[in-house]
């Protein structure tokens, strides 16, 4: 079998596996549901995910060590992940192939020629690594992992400095200088935090997000396999725009994203360029037919001086060479090799910008006085400063959420918040379900901790600390029917899932009709005068006739009479006595000590646009500084 056929089978297999994992991430026990499928496996394989989360959070959570395995293998075999495994790469490869079909050799050579913009991905890699390492210096003293990473960094710089040629020493000095300034700054002014911004462009989170939040809801609408009803994701258009833009750009340059943007590809390229096995020519001079250059996926120029860092191991060059002069072996290419286009200034700029990004973005106060109360995070979420160190923006929590309440945060949540999970109470099928911890267990990076049901509900060993609160519901009395409009309602109270309920009511009587006079009564029926009544308008069971301090429920009414259901304290009014009609209102109140912020009340509130009861992130358990109540104070 031809090597490219094997490669295509591999790509097809992993793409299909990836799509399968997207489909089965539905809570349930059936074969096409979650059961035990390793739905995070591709995210875990992505080494940039692991590396940035290691730098920012200080550990490789759960399956994220898979990324280390990919890195280790890359040292031996090169960018096999890009060419053989990556599902996003497979999509780009396919679209690029579509675009290049039937094009003349000259044009294909031109499309696949190295382009200066291929540097951009290294810049982005430096930026994301910088953002993830932003406070590494300040955390040095605190953790062994941080110390080990810093040690590795220094060692790398020393190695770079002692290398001959290619300006290694100057490079190392410059990077060292940037870092030294940074260490000094962060020791003097600690806590800008470190943010995992890589997820914005990291290929596997990007493709997971795009497939799960855009393609799947579209494909599933008629099929209803993944979800029984329609699924909505706010801002899906922006996610789709990025996804389809990267796909369509393959028509201009094959593997556009891989060549110009992919920070994971950049990382693998840097590590894999000295791989034990690599693609290369077996002779210095060949017939120069350019068929290898014309089909090179990575724009690595196999015909000339090969750029091993750009080679994605698609093996098109091996397959197409009429002289069989290209091979995959342990020797460097006899055509010569070129280092990646690593402009020192760009790498330094990327690194510097990345290091500076969290402190700069923090200036808006998102972690301090400018925190956004609309940012209601899923149950088990870490405090925001820790959350942003871990969240990959992969969308797995939003995919698995049975109610669809988890939404990708839009641009209004800032660059640091973009596409992280936020609860959109009005958009799912019913707020955050009390007896559900699916998101916490699917999260690949523990930005949402793997909590237990007992911990969420505050039961068993968690009884003393109480339930996890996402926020607190606040009533908008200006919009609430019983508060503002003299209409009974209390749907919020009815649906509050907490026992005893966090929404309670107080009885209120509002006079809605006055100026009536009592007439003669017979049995339960009383004649009234003064105003003509609309027959049966007061028959809903919520209206009461008032005579002084006494009230009787109106059962039915005619134009000038009422049938009453009198209580024990009711005496038939003397003819001519003044009467009025009151509506019996149960007005809702929220007990913040009980409210978990699940949002079911907000979801069910009949004020259908801007709800009359809305959850806000105050009092969420994950941020102690946002709590509302004093412990031990108050009556209950």
């Amino acid at each position: 079998m031809r090597i490219v056929t094997v490669r295509r089978i591999s790509q097809g297999f992993f793409l299909a596996l990836f799509l399968w994992f997207c489909l089965v991430a539905t809570v349930g026990e059936r074969l096409w549901q979650l059961r035990g499928w390793p739905v995070n496996w591709f995210l875990e394989l992505d080494p940039l995910t692991g590396l940035t989360s290691l730098m920012a959070a200080g550990s490789l959570y759960a399956g994220l060590w898979w990324g280390a395995a990919v890195l280790a293998l890359t040292l031996v075999a090169g960018r096999f992940f890009c060419g053989w495994v990556c599902p996003f790469g497979a999509m780009h490869h396919f679209v690029g192939w579509l675009g290049a079909r039937n094009k003349p050799l000259k044009e294909r050579v031109q499309r696949n020629a190295p382009h200066p913009a291929q540097q951009i991905k290294y810049f982005l890699l430096a930026f994301f690594l910088g953002a993830a390492a932003s406070d590494l210096a300040a955390r040095l003293a605190m953790g062994q992992v941080a110390a080990a990473l810093a040690g590795a960094l220094v060692l790398g710089l020393v190695l770079l400095a002692t290398r001959k040629g290619q300006g290694g020493r100057a490079y190392a000095l410059a990077v060292g200088l940037v870092l030294a300034v940074w260490v000094a700054w962060s020791l003097l002014a600690p806590s800008g935090g470190a943010w995992l911004l890589a997820g914005l462009l990291d290929p596997i989170p990007l493709v997971s997000r795009s497939v799960n939040l855009v393609l799947l809801p579209l494909a599933d609408a008629p099929a209803r396999v993944a979800w029984p009803g329609p699924r909505f994701y706010q801002g899906a258009g922006l996610i789709a725009a990025v996804f389809f833009a990267t796909l369509l750009l393959n028509l201009w340059r094959p593997r556009f994203f891989c060549r110009f943007v992919c920070p994971t590809g950049a990382l693998l390229g840097l590590l894999g360029r000295h791989a034990l096995w690599r693609v290369g020519k077996t002779q210095a001079r060949c017939g120069a037919c350019m068929s290898c250059d014309a089909s090179c996926s990575g724009a690595a120029r196999p015909a000339g001086r090969l750029r091993p860092a750009e080679c994605v191991l698609c093996m098109n060059c091996l397959d197409g060479c009429p002289e069989e002069a290209v091979t995959y072996a342990t020797k460097p290419s006899l055509g010569g090799e070129a280092a990646p286009d690593l402009s020192r200034r760009r790498v330094l700029a990327g690194l510097g910008l990345g290091l500076a990004a969290p402190p700069i973005l923090s200036l808006s106060g998102v972690l301090g006085p400018g925190w956004n109360p609309a940012l209601i995070r899923p149950p088990g979420s870490l405090p925001e400063s820790e959350f942003l160190r871990r969240c990959l923006r992969c969308g797995q929590c939003m995919r698995v959420c049975p109610t669809g309440v988890l939404q990708p945060a839009g641009p209004s949540f800032g660059l640091e918040g973009l596409w992280t999970p936020v609860l959109g109470m009005t958009i799912g099928t019913s707020g955050c379900q009390p007896r559900c911890i699916a998101c916490a267990h699917v999260c690949p990076s523990a930005a949402i901790r793997p909590i237990t049901l007992d911990e969420k509900l505050g039961k068993g060993e968690y009884a003393a600390q109480g339930p996890i609160r996402l926020g607190c519901a606040f009533l908008d009395r200006g919009r609430c029917l019983p508060w503002a409009m003299d209409r009974p309602c209390i749907v919020c109270q009815e649906n509050c899932p907490v026992s005893p309920k966090a929404i309670f009511t107080r009885l209120a009587w509002e006079t809605v009709l006055g100026g009536l006079k009592a007439g003669p009564s017979s049995g339960g029926e009383l004649a009234v005068s003064g105003k003509a009544l609309k027959p049966d308008a007061l028959a809903s069971g919520d209206y009461y006739l008032q005579a002084g301090a006494a009230r009787a429920r109106i059962v039915t009414n005619g134009a000038a009479s009422m049938t009453l259901a009198p209580g024990p304290d009711w005496r038939a009014p003397t003819p001519g006595a003044p009467l009025s009609v009151a509506v019996r209102l149960q007005r809702p109140y929220v007990d913040p000590a009980r409210c978990t912020g699940c949002g079911i009340c907000q979801h069910e509130c009949p004020v259908s646009g801007k709800r009359a009861i809305r959850v806000s992130a105050e009092n969420a358990t994950r941020e102690r500084s946002h709590s509302l109540l004093l412990k031990g104070a108050g009556p209950g």
Binding site: P228, P230, R435, P488, C489, E494, S499, G541
Partner: protein, 328 residues
């Protein structure tokens, strides 16, 4: 005239003909699509579906009360008293069981229909010859989670029923004849289409707004849309629901009553053992008896009076001589 000139003329006429056809086509399309009125206020409304009566002739006014702490024997005994399941379900029937699966809570909390009871009813219907048994509801919480967590979904499927969850295609606009509230409202008609029998199966629950939620309030789960607006007139909507649905049979499960914190419950402490199951063909009578388990008299519950007044049944259940069965 030269040959070339002739060709030119012919070619011109051909092109002119094609252009003329194109113009005519565009003109015709414009003419055909031209609208002088614009959309009216009622545009986009579909025609209302009709909901037939599911009552079984000759079974009117039957009510049975079974005193028992066990649901399955109570159901069997109750049905036996009413003339057996065969009196209601026959060969080839499509039977719809409208359960209360409103909340995603475990069965032990009693906020939803009991899964063992659902399963037994499904089995009895199938045994009586039903061709298909559909178990359905449009829950308040996430539908799939409600059916799974309440145990109703797995139990019903295992017993041989088809579980139908709400989806946009299942809803059709419905107007209750003479109705004030249920007018051009989305009704979950999908599972009801072609059904011969409709059985309501609901737990007895406390409800702060309506005082009690039993079998008539259970029909709320057939409505779609933003149905919560009807809570402004809870008594009115429950009585209209009682008029909207004429069931074959309703079953109020008061073996345990959700006595506090209803209708969601949430704690075992909200439940009270009341060892009673009420079955009948008169839903007003069944509910009137059931509210007694919550310590209420029918006269204290306005929706019962409204429903009786609207002709959905009688609150004076004793007038129907309910059969009382006591199991040991």
């Amino acid at each position: 005239m030269s040959r070339d000139a002739d060709m030119d003329r012919r070619r011109f006429l051909l092109r002119a003909g094609k252009a003329g056809l194109g113009m005519a086509a565009i003109g015709a399309l414009g003419w055909w699509a031209h609208d002088t009125q614009g959309p009216g206020a009622e545009s986009g409304r579909a025609e209302s579906v009709k909901l037939p009566s599911f009552a079984v002739a000759g079974t009117g006014g039957r009510v049975a009360v079974v005193k028992s702490g066990h649901r399955v024997p109570a159901l069997r005994a109750g049905l036996e008293t009413l003339g057996g399941i065969a009196a209601f379900v026959g060969a080839g029937h499509k039977v719809v069981i409208k359960v209360n699966a409103a909340f995603a809570t475990p069965p032990a909390l009693g906020a939803t229909s009991n899964p063992e009871l659902v399963a037994e009813l499904v089995r009895l219907c199938l045994k009586a010859g039903a061709a298909q048994v559909v178990v359905t509801d449009n829950p308040i919480n996430d539908p799939a989670s409600c059916f799974e967590l309440s145990g109703i979904g797995p139990a019903a499927r295992q017993a041989g029923a088809k579980v139908v969850l709400p989806h946009p295609g299942a809803f059709r606009p419905y107007t209750l004849p003479g109705g004030r509230l249920i007018v051009d409202w989305p009704l979950m008609y999908g599972p009801l289409a072609g059904a011969h029998r409709l059985i309501g199966l609901a737990p007895v629950k406390d409800h702060h707004r309506s005082q009690a939620s039993v079998t008539m309030k259970n029909w709320y789960g057939l409505l779609g849309g933003r149905r919560n607006v009807f809570h402004q007139d809870i008594n009115g909507i429950i009585s209209e629901l009682g008029r909207m649905v004429t069931p074959s049979l309703v079953i109020a499960d008061g073996v345990a009553t959700l006595a506090h914190n209803g209708p969601t419950g949430g704690s075992l402490e909200d439940l009270r053992p009341t060892d009673t199951m009420i079955l009948g063909t008169d839903q007003v009578a069944v509910d009137s008896m059931a509210v007694g388990l919550l310590g209420l008299k029918p006269a204290q519950v306005p929706w019962l009076g409204l429903a009786a007044q609207a002709g959905a049944g009688t609150t004076d259940y004793e007038s129907l001589n309910p059969t009382k069965v006591e199991l040991g």
